[in-house]
Symmetry: D2
Subunit: 413 residues, 4 copies
Amino acid sequence: MLNKMMNETKVIRDNVHGNIIIKYQIIWDLINTDVFQRLRRVHQLGGTFMVFSSAEHSRFTHSLGVYSIVDRIINEVMTDNLNEYDGIVGLCAGLLHDIGHGPYSHAFEDVFKTDHEEMTRRIILEDTSVNQVLRSYDENLPLAIAQVINKEYHNKLLVQLISSQVDADRMDYLLRDATNAGVSYGLFDLERLLRSMVVVDNRIAFKESGVHVLEDYIFARYHMYWQVYLHQTTRSYEIILHKLLSRVKVLFAASYQFKDDIRFLKPFLNKTTLAIKDYLNLDESILFYYFRCFMDEEDPILKELARCFINRVLFKQIDLDNIQQGLKIMNYIEDNFEKRANYFDISQVKSSLYNYYGEINSQSIIILTKNKELKELYNVSNLVNAIVKSAEEKQEVKLYFHQRYQSLINEGS
Amino acid sequence: MLNKMMNETKVIRDNVHGNIIIKYQIIWDLINTDVFQRLRRVHQLGGTFMVFSSAEHSRFTHSLGVYSIVDRIINEVMTDNLNEYDGIVGLCAGLLHDIGHGPYSHAFEDVFKTDHEEMTRRIILEDTSVNQVLRSYDENLPLAIAQVINKEYHNKLLVQLISSQVDADRMDYLLRDATNAGVSYGLFDLERLLRSMVVVDNRIAFKESGVHVLEDYIFARYHMYWQVYLHQTTRSYEIILHKLLSRVKVLFAASYQFKDDIRFLKPFLNKTTLAIKDYLNLDESILFYYFRCFMDEEDPILKELARCFINRVLFKQIDLDNIQQGLKIMNYIEDNFEKRANYFDISQVKSSLYNYYGEINSQSIIILTKNKELKELYNVSNLVNAIVKSAEEKQEVKLYFHQRYQSLINEGS
Amino acid sequence: MLNKMMNETKVIRDNVHGNIIIKYQIIWDLINTDVFQRLRRVHQLGGTFMVFSSAEHSRFTHSLGVYSIVDRIINEVMTDNLNEYDGIVGLCAGLLHDIGHGPYSHAFEDVFKTDHEEMTRRIILEDTSVNQVLRSYDENLPLAIAQVINKEYHNKLLVQLISSQVDADRMDYLLRDATNAGVSYGLFDLERLLRSMVVVDNRIAFKESGVHVLEDYIFARYHMYWQVYLHQTTRSYEIILHKLLSRVKVLFAASYQFKDDIRFLKPFLNKTTLAIKDYLNLDESILFYYFRCFMDEEDPILKELARCFINRVLFKQIDLDNIQQGLKIMNYIEDNFEKRANYFDISQVKSSLYNYYGEINSQSIIILTKNKELKELYNVSNLVNAIVKSAEEKQEVKLYFHQRYQSLINEGS
Amino acid sequence: MLNKMMNETKVIRDNVHGNIIIKYQIIWDLINTDVFQRLRRVHQLGGTFMVFSSAEHSRFTHSLGVYSIVDRIINEVMTDNLNEYDGIVGLCAGLLHDIGHGPYSHAFEDVFKTDHEEMTRRIILEDTSVNQVLRSYDENLPLAIAQVINKEYHNKLLVQLISSQVDADRMDYLLRDATNAGVSYGLFDLERLLRSMVVVDNRIAFKESGVHVLEDYIFARYHMYWQVYLHQTTRSYEIILHKLLSRVKVLFAASYQFKDDIRFLKPFLNKTTLAIKDYLNLDESILFYYFRCFMDEEDPILKELARCFINRVLFKQIDLDNIQQGLKIMNYIEDNFEKRANYFDISQVKSSLYNYYGEINSQSIIILTKNKELKELYNVSNLVNAIVKSAEEKQEVKLYFHQRYQSLINEGS
């Protein structure tokens, strides 16, 4: 029953993959849950569309895209390696791997101590519409899918398919983010990558003839990180959001009386354990509504930060020599101008943020050489080796500050 | 001063045009107003992304795109035909032509009797951040721009550039909607279309050698209408929205006590004249917030319609023979089952909806023939003639209904 | 043995289809025959690259492309409708359907009375390397393939796959010619077309939901014909070629002594039956060599026509009212200025050349409607109906002439 | 008069650049010379289309493409840096930079000791149709253009435009070769590269914000070299050609009587100085004709090598440890089996072949940093630094041999 086919195959048009094909009823049922539909209201790249205007795509389309790539790999590469049950587990895991993401995950989680990975598991395992759909097909399905996403499933091939250096998730987001942002440097040859993928000893490997496609893929990731994901203006937007959410938290803790009822936000402010249904109420629309309300608040800091966020009054930035210099500045501001500290922040971007390449060592992309040996890509490709080393040396430290302190900064420098 | 250049040219990446270039300071200032930024929170195609998932783009990117095409036409086609003042007026008009759009304009305006064209004029002419920017450069600028958009400007070339059968607006939205939806049939050769454009007697015309590109453009529009814009499932989503907004209006008129304070929606429900600042408060996020709140309301109809809208529980549909049949059904339901009428609606799509081609006669696309004569495209191209006639005959009438009445419909048929 | 797989699947990169996959040994063997390799030396579009410079592709890549589309249709659409034998017959037929084409078929065949369709059959059935490969797998294979190409095979599904209104041949050449020429109007959505294709009663049909893709395909063909295939300058080039080949024939018949030994051309000039090996010796390189030699000939007409052809000294043209007018002019020239007739010609392009749409009636593209009825596209799509009627009315008659007679023409008009 | 405009601007469609615009009469006149038209009969990538089938494009379309990029750079980047005279010199130089290329330059020049760069100069400076066109506009034009191509022109900006690490030539061929071969890894963002290009101190430099585009460009070149230009099968084809041409030379020196008159090849075989008109007679068609004739020759080696070349009977290859090993093998074969040596060859590909990156040091790509300093790309980009070092270490040595010696090789290894 798990493999129940739809009466009529569904085809969803997609600006990245062309056609996304839905054959199994369970996939269609999952897509139609309120929990999955909620992903339409969460931007895939948070505030990046403030810089790359056309990168307005959601986690919804990305999730469909991951499903679609998993579907292709299962049918084109792993036909002899996966049974139908595991195949469907893989499709569901691909579709649901980001189901726990909330609005602007990065800043939000940092302030409210939520964790989208934990939420993904809870959504799959606790009482939600997603869980109901899964159990209606097979009682053990939620656990299996959660294990795949959690990298604990007994069939490691499925785990790699969803979470590894070259997994369906990364493949889709690179292509999707680059396509929507309108930047060609993030594109790579998906067709060729899939054609060079093989299964050896129940592991994903790549034929040596495909090494140049992997090099191109690594290169695309390198550029997407430094040009798009870590773009200085995106970070400015996220810093404002962080400051804004922090201010809400501080005020709430101080029993500040908000003019509007912020009822969907309160569960995150209270110390009690968060119910999954409360978590699922939140999306970017809800959050945005409250930010709009904050523009009418009494507290001048909350009011100003909300204005900056909504009307794109971005913080400015200057380069710093190192993180120590940054911390010294922040300490000075916090010690001497407590309120001003709401308008300053330090952002450090370095290889640690960029540990994707570091992972090559620990997790390894495997090459099946012409002589049928297995080697790490790192040891086969001088180029990848070079890119990784080059990436490790790169870092950036910046001080961000509200525009009103521009003259202050000019004096200080 | 109107032509003040930016210190550094700004380049915005775009998934349709590649690079959008901002040279004038006034354009950058307009983009950075809260009023223009608000367009980021209004989908270009309303609820179409419920069917074409990846069509998630906003009126913000479309407005930039129109600006960009106007910029190209001014520099590549009209160099000798426009002075710098009119050129900048044209750029501003292109950028601002949709500034009055609110969330889900179609259904919203029908229920609340607002008009985005009127709002566009008011935003430009009344006291808003957009108006302030314009006046800071030139006191007469707001009026000039409003006149262009309103088709009353003395220089008709500018009017045609923004509003005609083959204007910058349509060029951008066809390309943008097709690109984002992932459907190739909406694409046409923009480069070639611009190359064939000429100015004759202060009118836009097209060289005869470009007729095939115009045919392709007309064909693209034909397909986008029937495949995307009028897609039966998009209409389902809009009907639910229409029913939902109507229910809010009915309840408010009946002094229903809403649990949540719907303060940004009230100005639209009160009979008084709408202030422009109240209009600008509304966007899809705000509207969505209230819909989410309605899911917790007492009124079962409001509650259910909100649920349908948010969780994509779409109305089903069947074909009807003609509009009379539809009206008879609706009358019957309204007479006998007052409440059920909230869950039924008729949708007629015919050539009148599709009056773009009708306009060819009245407004005319002009061809400059090899012999230097001016003729209507309609009279030059048998193909366009044929497409237009074919389009006029096409129509569709459908009855939409809540899924719970499926069996009722089955019986009835 | 017919289905012998290759040790390692071959992948040929292609600028139209991305990857062309070769799995069967027989296909690889056929590609590697001298007869098939010869297609690399025959341009797909004859002299069209004299106008659309980048349309330099050969019949070799087109043939691979047809094979590739046949492969996809067999695997994606006809899995349950073809047995493996017929599948391989189809692949071979797709690959070999143009194997009999010679250099500049149109003009060449008209002058030398050869027929590429007959040659295709002979190459497959007589003693050639292609025939040897086929027989080495199965004695009956040559006949089966020849029958498919000749529309006589017992399994009509295969026949339709290779030769019908919407066959693999047309699909590839439209996409390939448009891609290489750099004209977007010839493109259509191949993915969607294949997805809407079904087999009903052992016939190819298309789902009603795919009608708009077929409309787009018909539209693409319409434009490719009038903009590319029948381009006035391409016709000029072909007319020169026709005049040149005719002159060779006249001189040879008159026992003219050619300075160079034209040994590979002689079999075509002699009255005896053409041996298949003599036919296969000819390609564009060989022909071109002789044309170059003719530039050094005594006969001034031969010399001049060769110069025009090689150095692209194209004939000019003027529009005529109708074919009668053209014939009158030609008769006058032939009667009064015998030699000048070598530098004049009439070209008529009308619906009869454009009988592809006429074929819709006789051969019919079939639509499987939502109600599971079978109807002709012509009767389902108003648009196709309109395009076909529009096409039937269109015609062009032109007089082509050597540039040296420009002033004569000017006087005459 | 040099800047005489055409009556009507010509637009040539192109599968890489879309539209190529011809405004000056002199450019159109040059394109229409027999000398320039001859480039249609020389493949841009020699025998690469034997591996990448769809890479069938000619030096003709590449030359138009270079012209087109030069045109854009002059108009978009160098408006204030070049006067009209130098602008037109640059356009002509871009168009003519490859005019001296003959068929399969690499192997041909090695055997016959011709040099396409010298031929380019001679074609421009000696009595040819190209020279006539140039002189008809300006007596000094041929010398100016030859100097630009020869890197001796007084205005070094023009020299860089045509010949430098990031010149119009390389930009076009990377894009064109990748597009036609159907490999995405050779593509880079031309728009962005041109936008980041500036002129500083009469030198081409690139803004620091464009460094990532340059990285992508270098990366594309790296991949095109190793995947396409140096592809092992392409080299096999070129080795056969080299052997074949060498055999012709040996036989001619030994007064061998060729059955066919190889009149257009003789000037290359005779010891006398080559006349430019004899050089221009040769193209791939002519050469191919003689190769076809050689298939009917008595000499078994000539006959066999011609067959291998024409029917794509490629030499096989095995990897060697180093060049010394290869030379030892070749010496052994030459000493012991003189005739067999015609069927064996060594191919070494290393960083020296790949000296483009080495040039970075000597010729330098210059970055204009945010602080308005000029630095070498090599010192700004860790990534480029890493790629170059990685490239330097890479090399390949292979032994190629006729298939008939496969068993011999198997024994030997």
